[in-house]
């Protein structure tokens, strides 16, 4: 268990210094290789926890609303890796979104908001 070193997840590269970090939930709330949803100041954030990536363990934070169905279900999709990118498959119509930049792989018009997220000890933190 070497999570003392916090790992930065999201590749929203334009924001040079994400933060300030806010606590969202605890590590215990996460499900390995799958998703849960947290309430974040009026927004619904889907959190995906991957314990073993090339960069060690990672948490991704992405908008929970599926633009195609209008339902808040992204957190209940299947996580996968397609062409060297971590993605989430939306559970109703199966379209894929990049967990790194929120882009829809099938439709360049569709985007989901992504947040930077990290594990800090037993806490899950997010940067607005």
């Amino acid at each position: 268990m070497s999570q003392a070193n916090a790992v930065r997840m999201s590749s929203a590269q334009l924001a040079p210094q994400p933060g300030p970090w806010q606590v969202l939930c605890s590590r215990d709330d996460l499900v390995a290789n799958s998703g849960v949803v947290a309430w974040f100041d009026g927004a619904q954030v889907a959190l995906f926890y991957l314990p073993e990536t090339e960069q060690g363990e990672q948490v991704f934070a992405i908008e929970n609303r599926d633009p195609k169905s209008g339902a808040n279900v992204i957190g209940r999709g299947i996580v996968g890796r397609i062409k060297d990118e971590y993605v989430i498959a939306a559970p109703l119509y199966k379209q894929h979104f990049s967990l790194e930049d929120g882009r829809c792989l099938e439709d360049s018009e569709q985007y989901l908001r992504v947040w930077s997220a990290r594990l800090n000890g037993d806490l899950v933190e997010i940067a607005a």
Partner: protein, 641 residues
């Protein structure tokens, strides 16, 4: 008004006969757009719409009339074709251009005769009632079934294709079946002496007695059974019923009445475009005589049907120039194949024969006098040689160095006719007349999926006999175009589902990670491979899908053990085995539905579906249900309904 005007200009097409060929004609006519030009009236004498006569014997194996039908019940109605069943046409009035039935008269501009044939019953003294049954229509079969009540033994007169089918039918009715054939062998048209003998041996091994070279001279009252059939030389056979299947005769009565030209041996004479001596009247199928021949098989009838359908629809059509009578079939479970000059009747032809006395198998290959081509073949016991031999025969493909290898038992390394050796004109599917060229065309247009190819070309959707050949040609053509036939499940596993199933079973793999590490690429998988592997693991080891290692593999419905609906809420379907439920359990379902305000609906599978539960309500709902009912697995790829 305008609609009426156009309607008045439409011509009327009348089709007499709603058998397999008559039906195929209508189907083709609709497909070619013929309904734009014509109002169509179809008259069928039988009360049932067209059904599959080729598989008639299955009527006694449990299939009902409806499942033998050639089309859905509303097929004709849907396209606005007027189908008159149980309506026998009794007269064609050529002067008025009208057909006459008991119900009235129907004018026509064009007329198609597809009246088929009737069974020939030789004039044998004493043949009547249960000793004069025939085998052709569903009504005939009902009569045979009625006659077989209380009967122990049944005899079929005629050892041809239909006769053996009829024997099969008697056998399915639980009768001791016998076949009596006038010729010295079974299927005298299609088989040579050795082939007939091999077939006889195989069929007798199945419990059907075969008597060849027997001419029935009279039928009299029997001693042990109801009837006695007297043969020449004082021989006799007793039986309770007699079914005649001694050949067919063209049903040309209407043609004769209308004074159309009739062939010497019967049948309405048609030209290369299936036109009769009256240019407004066509004849197709077994009632038509082309070049002095009647074609008693379905495939030539279909070819004629297509030819006429295209003409009437104003589409280009190929002339009918005879048909190949090669056949491959299974009679009482025995493979029989016959190609071209099966008897080696061509002067100077040379034959190769393979005889397997142990299994009563027989194969014959007939080669042209110049030794260059296959001109005929006979197969008894194993039809796996048929497709290749037929291609050699039809396309004049050059023979291998040792022609006998074509009929020798296949061992590794035996020459197989490659798909590349076939010319573009080679027929792949004879039911729907699909050539290799048509398959190539579909591939050129971007078809890379076999199911899609079948949908586009209709190949292998008739009898299905060409499925293996079609696949071979298809894959060859794809490879030739540099399209790699990639069967990988996804980028993580270079295997098909079937291969993964084998690996998981044989190696006893119990987790996704283990499978990915040992046989996959990358380290997380995707939404294609994860549910597939999750399903295989469940099929094999049946561990709870809620185990932490298995949870990430499941589709959302399996993860939350409920069915997600369009707004992200779930429906809950408890198991109601067999649709049987006690009032007490029903009350529990009602109470829970009421408490959580769930929309309630009865499903098609005799269960009760409760809609509108939010994710966090599912455990509460189930803890209230669980004493009464168990999960229905409606969310899984598993047994439902």
């Amino acid at each position: 008004m305008t609609a009426n005007d156009t309607r008045n200009k439409r011509d009327t097409l009348v089709v007499i006969g709603n058998g397999m060929v008559g039906h195929h004609f209508v189907e083709q006519f609709i497909e070619q757009g013929g309904l734009d030009r014509y109002d169509v009236h179809v008259f069928g004498e039988e009360p049932m719409r067209a059904y599959d006569r080729v598989h008639l014997s299955e009527y006694f194996g449990g299939r009902d009339a409806e499942s033998l039908a050639m089309c859905e019940a509303d097929f004709y109605e849907r396209d606005g074709v007027n189908l008159h069943l149980g309506a026998q046409v009794v007269e064609i009035d050529r002067a008025q251009q009208e057909v006459v039935t008991a119900q009235g008269r129907q004018p026509y501009d064009q007329l198609v005769l597809a009246t088929g044939s009737y069974p020939f019953v030789p004039p044998i003294p004493g043949a009547e009632g249960n000793s004069r049954l025939v085998y052709r229509t569903l009504e005939d079969l009902d009569a045979i079934r009625a006659a077989s009540a209380g009967a122990r033994r049944g005899v079929v007169v005629g050892g041809g294709l239909l006769g053996l089918e009829a024997a099969n039918a008697l056998k399915s009715l639980g009768l001791e079946a016998h076949v009596v054939e006038f010729a010295p062998r079974l299927m005298p048209v299609q088989l040579d002496a050795e082939g007939g003998a091999a077939l006889k041996a195989q069929i007798e091994a199945l419990g059907v007695s075969v008597h060849v070279s027997r001419a029935t001279q009279a039928i009299v009252a029997g001693e042990e059974y109801a009837y006695r059939m007297n043969f020449q030389d004082d021989e006799f056979l007793e039986t309770d019923i007699v079914v005649f299947s001694a050949g067919i005769r063209p049903q040309d009565a209407l043609g004769r009445q209308a004074e159309l030209e009739i062939a010497e041996r019967g049948g309405v004479v048609v030209d290369n475009h299936c036109r009769t001596s009256d240019s407004n009247i066509f004849a197709i199928g077994e009632c038509a005589s082309w070049n002095g021949s009647i074609f008693g098989l379905v495939a030539p009838g279909y070819t004629m049907a297509r030819c006429v359908a295209a003409q009437l629809a104003g589409k280009p059509c190929e002339a009918f120039t005879g048909a190949d009578m090669s056949t491959k079939l299974k009679l009482l479970g025995v493979d029989v194949g016959s190609i071209g000059d099966a008897h080696g009747a061509t002067p100077g032809s040379v034959s190769y024969r393979f005889i397997d006395e142990a299994n009563a198998g027989y194969r014959r290959l007939v080669i042209s006098p110049d030794g260059k081509q296959v001109i005929g073949a006979v197969l008894v016991g194993d039809n796996s040689y048929y497709d290749t031999l037929l291609q050699y025969a039809q396309n004049g493909i050059k023979l291998p160095q040792d022609p006998s290898s074509l009929i020798m038992p296949v061992s590794d390394g035996a020459p197989v006719l490659g798909a590349d050796a076939l010319p573009d004109t080679a027929t792949i599917c004879s039911c729907h007349n699909v050539s290799k060229g048509a398959v190539c065309c579909a591939v050129d247009e971007g078809c890379t999926d076999l199911a899609e190819l079948k949908g586009q070309t209709k190949a292998a959707t008739g009898c299905g006999g060409c499925a293996a050949l079609l696949k071979q040609v298809f894959e060859h053509e794809l490879t030739a175009r540099g399209v790699e036939v990639d069967k990988s499940l996804c980028e993580h596993f270079p295997y098909t589902r079937q291969e993964l199933y084998g690996i998981i079973r044989v190696e006893g793999i119990e987790t996704f990670d283990e499978l990915l590490k040992t046989h996959g690429r990358g380290h997380i998988g995707c939404d294609i491979c994860k549910p597939v592997v999750g399903s295989i693991l469940a099929s094999c080891w049946n561990k709870p899908i809620t185990d932490p290692a298995l949870v990430p593999l499941q589709d959302t419905n399996d993860t939350f053990m409920a069915n997600m609906q369009k707004n992200g809420t779930y429906s809950v379907v408890p198991r109601v085995p067999g649709g049987e439920i006690t009032p007490e359990k029903l009350i529990v379902l009602g109470e829970v539905a009421k408490k959580y305000d769930l929309y309630t609906k009865i499903t098609g599978g005799q269960r009760i579906d409760l809609f509108g539960a939010e994710l966090h309500q599912l455990p509460d709902i189930w803890s209230e249900l669980i004493e009464a009912v168990r999960t229905g697995h409606a969310y899984g790829k598993s047994v439902r309904t």
